[in-house]
Amino acid sequence: MEGIEQLPEILRLASGYIYPNEAELHWGFLVVIYPYLTGLVAGAFILASLVKVFNVKALLPTYRLSMLTALSFLIVAPLPLLAHLGHPERSLQIFLTPQPKSAMAMFGFVYAWYLMMVLLAEIWLEYRIVLIEKGRTKKGLKKLFYKFVSLWDTDTSKKSIIFDHKAIHFITLVGIPSAFLLHGYVGFIFGAIKANPWWSSVLMPVVFLFSAIVSGIALVLILYTLTSLFKSRPIDMKCLEKLAAFLLYALLVDFSLEMLDFIHRLYESEESIEILGHMITNRLFISLIIVQMLLGTIIPLITLSILHIKKDMPVEFRRLGYLIAAVLIQMGIFSTRWNVVVGGQLFSKSLRGLTIYKVEMLGTEGLFMGILLLVLPLIILYFVAKILPMWQDDPVVDSGTK
């Protein structure tokens, strides 16, 4: 037998015993980004639905921002999956010949339903009058573009506007379970893998869903604060306070669910507990204990709670506090996705060893590609906002949401 030094580097860095085929980790950085992006979509949409369905008037300034954010992130969401496939050119097969027993086969349908029937329909109805107006006033190619996106509709009557409102209300009603489905489904993809004790949990879709709501609200809060700063628009503090309050409630539920999952695992102490404990204290210590739990959950929880109770603090201080908490939460949720996706592959299914994962810099699954896919939705949002006015008090926005 030849020396151990001839073994591939990854096996030498592994500890304990891993099955030989486990040397390579198959779902890397890009697959971490996918649930992160879909989570932001679902969260942003649920925030928007608070305005339309639950009539939370204070959040009205962020309604359009939430919807457009959801759209921009949803457009990018399938790209990391596509780039990750061994044969991206065969990806359409998921639509054409789906295997009905596969959870993943439903991806195309869930995605298409959410994009076409929920987000695009609601945004179109919300902006219908704006698009018709722009189609009338603009010239040349722009006119043609607006005519096209308004689907050559010209009806701006009061009756049609009332219909828009009713339709939006109805779509949002359908949209809430759809958003739950979109991200709960992503959780199910992991939670339903019985071979993997780190993933296999009935709580997984629920935890995914609440962490999605947390990340979506946090993102809208960040975007609202930053765009207001850069555009020198006054920040509606009532709106910001409400956002922060909902963020705190969602974070509390999310934290409780994750703790429940943790305590449940610990108490049951199944066969896998030893290796999972080893993984948490070694491989995932920084990303799980430090970033996800401490920086991403406990510190924001304390910050948001203090700001929630002590209402007499100066406005500037509150804004800064909310912004910092939201940014920390974003980091925490990204770490959550990392810990689920990568963590689930760091231990061997023999439950006897741990492997390692090194992110490449270049290549289709590299760090740069990942960063590009994380920045791309923001670039799309910038251009979408050029076409569709983001703020309620922008010119030509009499679409009835006031």
Binding site: P20, G86, T97, I193, A195, Q345, R352
Partner: protein, 258 residues
């Protein structure tokens, strides 16, 4: 009259004996010829629907020589770099201290060296591993496009021309039996040497095993080697609690094996 009859009977008897002798001599040759000759003939009469394949592994018989791993690599062009295995051999060393050490350097293809002090060893044994061709295969369940499927003989295969390379099946397999082929960029795994089975041959790993630690056959056929193996041994499967219904059966398996 009676003499004539007796003469006839004697002639008939001698003729019969000669023919029988010739027949007995020819028959094994014929059956051999059939095996060698007629891959096409065998193929023509191969009826997959009536078969149900499985593999038995006699743990006590395995000597960890790694011939099966090498044969599999050669037969199926298994890519080597960095490390991919359709079958591999694990060595379990149970120490007196209660610790269990599992190793499979190079999948066991180069054999094993003594690395532990003998006086500290309670026992040591080898366990060949491969795809379990589960009847409730999680990999088949999760494949989004149906590129992984179960044949009517119960063999789980991957259609490399249809697989999209999503790796979901690799995540779903509890046994680490699958890998992503770096050349085809599709999922890859043991096929029970399906191309050999349909020609009446045994899987390469079974063929080369010097100690007959691997037994291949039909799980439903009363006279198959595998059913005899079932009768003679207490049988266990790997990770039975997951309800995957594996079709690789282990005799005398230690509880430490996962």
């Amino acid at each position: 009259m009676s003499n004539i009859k007796r003469e006839f009977d004697r002639r008939k008897f001698i003729k019969g004996c000669l023919l029988g002798g010739v027949g007995l001599g020819i028959l094994p040759t014929l059956s051999k010829m059939h095996e060698v000759l007629g891959s096409t003939e065998k193929l023509a009469e191969y009826v997959p629907e009536i078969r149900s394949y499985g593999m038995g592994i006699n743990v006590k018989a395995c000597i960890g020589c790694g011939k099966c791993v090498n044969a599999c690599e050669q037969e199926n062009n298994v890519p080597k770099d960095p490390m991919y295995y359709r079958t591999w051999v694990e060595r379990y060393t149970l120490l007196l201290s209660g610790e269990t050490i599992v190793e499979s350097p190079f999948g066991g293809s180069r054999g094993f060296t003594d690395t532990h002090q003998e006086s500290k060893i309670l026992k040591s044994f080898f366990v060949p591993k491969l795809c379990n061709h589960c009847k409730n295969a999680p990999c088949v369940q999760v494949c989004p496009v149906g590129a992984t499927f179960t044949t009517s003989e119960g063999v789980v295969l991957v259609d490399k021309d249809y697989c999209i390379g999503c790796s979901y099946c690799l995540q779903a397999c509890p046994y680490g039996a699958r890998f992503m082929n770096p050349i085809t960029h599709t999922a890859d795994k043991c096929t029970f040497c399906y191309h050999r089975l349909s020609r009446g041959l045994l899987p390469a790993c079974v063929e080369v095993c010097p100690t007959k630690a691997r037994i291949f056959g039909d799980t439903k056929l009363r006279s198959s080697q595998l059913t005899r193996f079932f009768r003679q041994n207490e049988i266990q499967v790997l990770k039975g609690g997951l309800n995957t219904d594996p079709q690789v059966f282990y005799a005398r398996l230690d509880g430490e094996v996962r």
